[in-house]
Amino acid sequence: MGARSGKCICGEAKNEKSILIKKDFSKMANNEWPLWEVFIRSKQGLSHKHVGSLRAPDAEMAVENARDVYTRRSEGISIWVVESNNIHASHPSEADSLFEPAHSKVYRHPTFYDVPDGISHM
């Protein structure tokens, strides 16, 4: 059967003409295209939103690839790409201390205040 002879029983493998170039792929690792984060504005008036990532050799191709991968069904009218290693993030393990100051300040919300029943326009 196909698995042994190298030919599929269905004759699916028709394009045998392509040239086989043997390469040592172990050397290629640092040749890998950089990673880009993709942000899409879905319509006028909304901000760009992170949708995913992809690899591309440069910004121009990153935008083109993002067009092909993330907007095939008219999901966007504008694309931003940012090289992933240019993104600086807060650390999850420090989230508690980073955001703690906000937790104790309930008076920043309108619901904190007592107002008489029946008052309007407030």
Binding site: M1, G2, A3, R4, G6, K7, C8, I9, C10, E12, A13, S18, I19, L20, I21, K22, K23, F25, M28, A29, N31, E32, W33, L35, G52, S53, L54, R55, P57, D58, M61, D68, V69, R72, R73, A89, H91, P92, S93
Partner: protein
């Protein structure tokens, strides 16, 4: 790290999951959770990519321009699905190049369904209907998976999958309404793909070693047998509606369980295909390897061009 610390981290991690909170890339996670996800997501990615081959085989021979445009769009979607999923493995620290090379060396697995040949145009119908149908059944619960990037990728994938199944069923319906030869072609495709499609859900729950842990981690939300039963129950009436027969003499409605009883799956065949002895395993992996090798000069040229542009800008 102290063992007590790790236990505490693990306890908090499981607590988060039990409360249906998502895990995000930089959050602490047990090493096993990470490794299980990398394995599962990369297998899923490989399946999307290898899955392009049996259908790509028919693009130039689609019966008309409408079918050709649809098949092209579907295969292009699958490439996108592969990309979302490889990206998700990268958020877990997997190296993309290595992940892909693991497929090419045979170290990594992909869905065994793609090791069956596509012999006639009707196979494009049955694949959309049953194979994408089974994939959707698997992927819908994964939209609630505990790992954020995987869950988000699944939401996108499921949105895109919805036309895949319908276009396949439409092909089957058209053939089933056609000449006797066309109808026979549709039935033959169903006969060949029915059992392999049911195998897509993996071994029986009793044999499935990772299920319990994966369910506790919410990276699997239903068991193999639950999904398989759903698939049978949904598909049988769809086949009846277009006058095709499910190739299973033991198939019978079970009033008590409100579902179908179905025949025994040939697990020897399943394991033999998983282990690499299916009709097309070698062709599939060879085709992927060749695609990578033949595209190498393009990737090199793009790199050289990018470097040159960078230099120009700097000077």
């Amino acid at each position: 790290m102290l063992e007590a610390n790790i236990n505490e981290l693990e306890r908090r991690f499981q607590e988060k999951i039990d409360n249906d909170q998502k895990i995000e890339p930089n959050d602490w996670m047990p090493d096993n959770y990470r490794q299980t996800l990398i394995r599962q997501i990369s297998q899923h990615a490989h399946s999307e990519i290898v899955g392009m081959l049996p259908e790509g085989n028919w693009i130039t021979r689609a019966p008309n321009l409408r079918r050709k445009a649809v098949l092209l769009a579907k295969v292009q979607d699958e490439a996108g699905h592969g990309l979302y999923l490889y990206s998700a493995t990268e958020t877990l620290g997997a190296d993309r190049e290595e992940t892909i090379d693991d497929l090419h060396s045979g170290k990594a697995k992909y869905s065994s369904i793609f090791n069956y040949p596509t012999l006639s145009w009707a196979d494009m119908g049955v694949i959309g209907w049953l194979v994408d149908g089974a994939a959707i059944m698997n992927q819908v619960p994964l939209c609630r998976c505990s790992y954020g990037p995987y869950a988000r990728a699944m939401v996108r994938v499921c949105k895109e999958e919805s036309f895949h199944q319908r276009q396949g069923y439409e092909i089957m319906m058209t053939l089933a309404k056609g000449t006797p030869e066309q109808k026979a072609m549709a039935q033959d495709a169903l006969n060949r793909f029915w059992w392999p499609s049911l195998m897509m859900f993996g071994p029986n729950d009793a044999e499935s070693t990772h299920t319990a842990q994966s369910m506790a981690w919410k990276i699997k939300r239903s068991t193999n047998d639950e999904l398989r039963q759903q698939m049978v129950d949904i598909t049988v009436p769809q086949a009846e509606l277009i006058g095709l027969t499910i190739p299973d003499p033991d198939l019978k409605w079970n009033e008590e369980k409100q579902g179908y009883d179905y025949g025994e799956i040939d697990w020897d065949e399943f394991w033999s295909v998983v282990k690499g002895n299916g009709p097309c395993n070698k062709e599939r992996v060879d085709a992927r390897r060749k695609a990578k090798e033949n595209g190498e000069w393009v990737r090199e040229a793009a790199n050289a061009y990018a470097a040159k542009q960078k230099m120009k800008k700097a000077s």
